[in-house]
Amino acid sequence: MKNKEPLILAVVVFFSLLTYYLVEPFAHSQMHKHHESEGFVYNDLPEPTKKGAAEHGKVLAIGNYACISCHSIKVENIPAPMDPASAAQTYGVNPPDLSNAGVVYDAKFLTDLIKNPAHALMVEHKFDPAKGKVHPMAAYAGMGGDLDQEVADIVAFLQSIAVKPEELTPTIAYENACGRCHANHYAGWTQIGEKPQFKKKQDELAFETQVLDYTDALTKYMGKLPPDLSIYIRSRGEHYIKTFVENPQNYLKGTAMPRVGVTAEAAEKVIEYLEDSGDAKRHERESVGKNVMIFIVIFAIFAFLWKRQMWRDLH
């Protein structure tokens, strides 16, 4: 009789793959909206028209208090006016330190943000001045000169003090882009910073109280406490996170989460941070995986040779 095994194998493989296709790629395409990334280019925002001068930007940002009445700039030794919890109780969320804003955020986004925060952040549905709701970050009205020039100067200043793009670390990117709203307890991160090691229980409780004060204010501001992102890389995956961060309204129309305005490079760093917290053993998985595959293939070859030997005189 002719050997039917290849045909049987083909039938088994066909139905297994068909089932797999239907319950995985097909079903998920039906359940979730798919958005393609635009590559963090922010096409809806206008290109800056002016070339900024960093020195003048510094005068505006620091000398004229355009930024530092709310923001700290640690690299320039400008401290935060308030501790994070008090700041959150005042503004809803702690205004970010601006040391690395110039490298984490896209220049077009920063330019628009300074002039019209609610627009750049895509939260105009939440902050409508007509309804008496104003974004806690005041729009920059200028110091009397050309507004566009002044904004360009401030952006140039922020870019001049930030670390170089190749020095941007996952931690800097996460702290700036996500960390003031999202805890990540697998990375030891709270909304007010990395949780230190405490010698005394009192100090630890004091820190935790501060975190709770902060998250209470944040919850009031956002409507609900933004989720902990510890293993979002496993629960949402890279594609979802990137396209969500690029434009949160894509998936959740009306969400209070602002567009963060990160550059494509900073987005990569955020992903790396999330991989380190939620999929820390990925490199080990790949290298162990390769070795196991080699081992199993060799096992399969020996098993095949053994079968051939055993069945030689059975046919």
């Binding site: 095994e5 088994v12 089932t19 319950v23 496993r234 949402r236 196991v292 053994w306 059975l314």
Partner: protein, 404 residues
């Protein structure tokens, strides 16, 4: 009392006490298997190996898992996945094996149906196998509760709700099963107990029964041929290995088993390392939250077909249809009235019944996952009706079958 003499060797010492040579013959070298079989006959060995993988990886996970609603999620996702050396490997093996074992069980079942391996004295093989299917399902469900993620919690909620029996409103029974009004600590503890003790014990016992049920009727073969195992084994032992219709379990059959196992393990470990999402649903990487219902709640893929038999009907009819789907496979040996034990391809209408059943179950599986709306709920409804109709038709079409 038996008479013992001074042992001449270690083997002799054991032989006098445990009859190891005889055991070896009964279990291996003179346990006769038909020669006319294909690789589908190796699924039993693959299942045994996958079960061993589940058992060993489970033992390692058990050393770090915390059955406490506040700690369970992080004990899995932080302690095991990040802190413990190779904890991630054991978890991925356990998770992927739990899913793949069902693929193999289904292949094993459909092999049995295709070749008529549940007929003429082989009924107990089929029934003990179905009992294994049910206990494996319970094992899979209870295990799915343990990471205490969103899907654990909500699947636990939905499935235990089924026991209220629709209009019967047996809410007391649901609370008794949960140990609480909602899935909580008592619920997690008892499913932990079921998963690591009671159900594995039942599975081990049933595996013994399943193997034992094979001894008297013997393993079936590709043509359903009735073999005289006495005569054929004598032929083999006399040296006519090529002419005999039987082979030794060890190492003739075993060597072929291992060849198939080798191919299977390549596939299995590829999934473990490089394609595991299908077995470890992303939704379950969000911690359980009783105040936040996930947008889509669906069981793991291997329960989808029976879930879809429940879903398209009104509550009471759905539950009856669901109960029907759970037990009807047990009755297969008695609903198949045909006198023939031959492959489905030579059995007239049963040939179409077999492929219709396979395709219908795949359609049900697909429709069980997608949202139940529009064309999907229509397809699901008709597929569920087809499933029931096929079972009702089975005794009639097999009764008309002529003996060959």
């Amino acid at each position: 009392m038996a008479h013992f003499t001074k042992a001449t060797s270690v083997k002799d010492w054991f032989n006098q006490r445990l009859a190891i040579e005889k055991v070896e013959k009964v279990m291996g070298s003179e346990y006769w298997i038909p020669k006319n079989i294909n690789f589908l006959w190796a699924m039993g060995m693959i299942l045994a190996i996958t079960f061993a993988l589940l058992l060993v990886s489970g033992i390692f996970l058990l050393m770090y898992y915390q059955p406490n609603v506040n700690l369970a999620f992080d004990s899995v996702n932080y302690t095991i996945m990040k802190e413990v050396d190779f904890g991630w490997l054991w978890r991925h093996i356990h998770g992927v094996a739990a899913s793949v074992v069902f693929l193999i069980i289904y292949i094993h079942m459909f092999t049995g149906i295709y070749y008529g391996s549940y007929k003429k004295g082989r009924e107990m093989i089929w029934i003990s196998g179905m009992l294994l299917f049910v206990t494996f399902s319970a094992e899979a469900f209870s295990g799915y509760m343990l990471p205490w993620g969103q899907m654990s919690y909500w699947a636990g909620m939905v499935i235990t709700n089924l026991f209220s029996g629709g209009s019967l409103h047996a809410d007391g029974l649901v609370e008794w099963i949960r140990g609480d009004y909602v899935p909580a600590q008592a619920f997690l503890n008892r499913f932990f107990m079921l998963h690591v003790l009671l159900i594995p014990l039942a599975i081990l016992g049933l595996i013994g029964l399943h193997f034992a049920s094979l001894r008297i009727p013997h393993v079936n073969n590709q043509d359903g041929e009735e073999i005289d195992f006495e005569a054929e084994s004598k032929k083999y032992l006399a040296g006519d290995k090529a002419g005999s219709k039987v082979i030794r379990f060890a190492n003739d059959f075993m060597s072929k088993d291992m060849m198939v196992v080798g191919v299977y393990l390549v596939f299995f470990f590829y999934l473990v390392f490089f394609n595991y999402d299908f077995a470890m649903d992303p939704v379950n990487f969000d911690p359980a939250d009783g105040l936040k219902t996930p947008a889509h709640i669906y069981p793991e893929w291997y329960f989808l077909w029976s879930y879809e038999i429940l879903r398209p009907f009104s509550v009471n009819i759905g539950l009856i249809a669901f109960a029907f789907a759970q037990v009807i496979f047990f009755a297969l040996p008695f609903l198949d009235k045909s006198p023939n034990t031959i492959p489905a391809s030579r059995r007239g209408l049963f040939k179409y019944w077999f492929w219709a059943m396979l395709i219908d179950m795949i359609v049900l599986t697909a429709m069980g996952k997608v949202p139940p709306s529009g064309v999907f709920s229509t397809i699901g409804f008709w597929a569920a009706l087809t499933f029931i109709a096929l079972w009702i038709a089975l005794p009639f079409i097999t009764k008309r079958e002529k003996a060959v």
